[in-house]
Symmetry: D2
Subunit: 160 residues, 4 copies
């Protein structure tokens, strides 16, 4: 029956601002309240805050780790996946989700946004990257103003 639940990734940096961490925790809470399963990169910062929020509401959390060691997963990851493939695991984080919520983030987050867009997986952004090509804005990232809106958009746009 878990298969009927939506899998939504939350991506963002391991050293977020306190505001980004607050947003991530609230996103995690909302996802759990709405019955979605949280997928993330399994480490600290935005990933940990989101898992903490989801756990507080009894949600399920999946952490797809880059290294060889399950012990480095943040304490709110319930299902640690140990890939051993380094940052190439970013591809697996987004492909395992039906929509992605990006919060702040650095170049690792940008790589995940890119891989998601390349694969046709919707990306919802909260205070995150903006893109343009040849001086033309790229509007592929769906902007949200707050965590509840981000979660609603993610669930509405989620692919099969």
């Amino acid at each position: 029956m878990i298969r009927n639940q939506k899998f939504i990734a939350v991506i963002g940096g391991s050293q977020p601002s306190s505001e980004e961490a607050r947003l991530a925790e609230e996103v995690g809470r909302e996802l759990a309240k709405q019955g979605a399963i949280l997928v993330c990169g399994g480490l600290g910062g935005v990933m940990e805050a989101a898992c903490k929020g989801a756990s507080a509401e009894g949600g399920v959390t999946v952490g797809i780790l880059p290294g060889d060691n399950r012990q480095v997963a943040n304490p709110y990851v319930q299902i640690p996946i140990v890939t051993g493939i380094g940052y190439a695991r970013n591809v697996a984080v987004v492909k395992s989700a039906q929509a992605v919520i990006a919060i702040g983030g650095n170049y690792g987050t940008l790589s995940e946004i890119s891989h998601a867009l390349q694969s046709g997986i919707p990306v919802i952004g909260l205070n995150t990257w903006a893109l343009s090509r040849n001086s033309q804005q790229d509007n592929s990232i769906t902007i949200a103003q707050n965590p509840a809106e981000a979660v609603n958009k993610a669930l509405n746009l989620a692919i099969n």
Copy 2:
């Protein structure tokens, strides 16, 4: 609290004999009864039989898929991980487990056995590969005679 449960991988071919499928289903049942979480490659054959057995006992099943499509997961996979990295996902299947139970299997299974042994993850074998080097038998695979013994050995040998 899932983190306190053991993660055990079940590996084997996608076209098992009926005896191998029976063993896999029984291994899945036993794992679920003992509260372990089942990790597998997410596809058919031994993977599906093990997930079916675990599901029948209310267990949790994780399927780490090679391709880009969650839809190909067998119907008993509750947590599909979509890696997009092809057979390199074999590494993630075994690294995500604390012990591995190999049932029958072809060269893909042998690669998983090898990656597990290379990473110091215990491998328990049921009717599977036997190895030798320079005419000397390699006894790294712990042999089990039946599903219950395989599961008990896996849980006892499981690393942290």
Copy 3:
């Protein structure tokens, strides 16, 4: 002695504009003239144009392919690397280079730019993506106005 040569990646889309293809071929020529080895994703479009240019000047070309089949490499790839890991090979394309030249490109190229910047590998841009975060421009991509400038900047900024 090849080890003393610089490895420079050229990244860009498989369906470039004719202007982008022209830029890529010229970049390939310049790299070969200056003794650098060209690394790319091995397929068509910008990758093929760059390899064609490098080959015309007697340069060495390496194509790091996503799939399982060497036959799909463009005809100017001399050293095809068959990864079998899909788009996760984008990480290997940039990590195998000491600097990266991005020409045009879509989301796959953006993922490569991101992975390079995350790994501290310089990125030189020709008519490619522009980035901003929280309404602040990110200037990590070094802009070049033409192929010769791009190659000179890549060789000057190349890391060890």
Copy 4:
């Protein structure tokens, strides 16, 4: 024109016996003499000995590295490929070759043998693993008695 040359992988442990190292160096020499390009995992032991032999005869050597650092390649690797994907790079080592020569080796080598056989890539063995399933010997590894025979068999069996 490199594309018309055969790509042959040499696999084996990083801590070979002196006899295995001697065999590997001789295999590398023979491959270069016959115009083949050597592919390997890029590190020490059998990989280094094979690259040393090939270099001594003016051959081309490709090293597909597991980590993030080109500096760890052995000094005879001319084309270092930096994958960043850990042992999952074993898949790329064999897929990049048209035939594989295994010399001695531990579980990492066994995983490469397995991935090659799974992909239909011929494996030639010199003092390496022997396999059996359900008490039946598996003869998929073509045995060679010496380096020259191994190279001849690899070149004859090489796939396209």
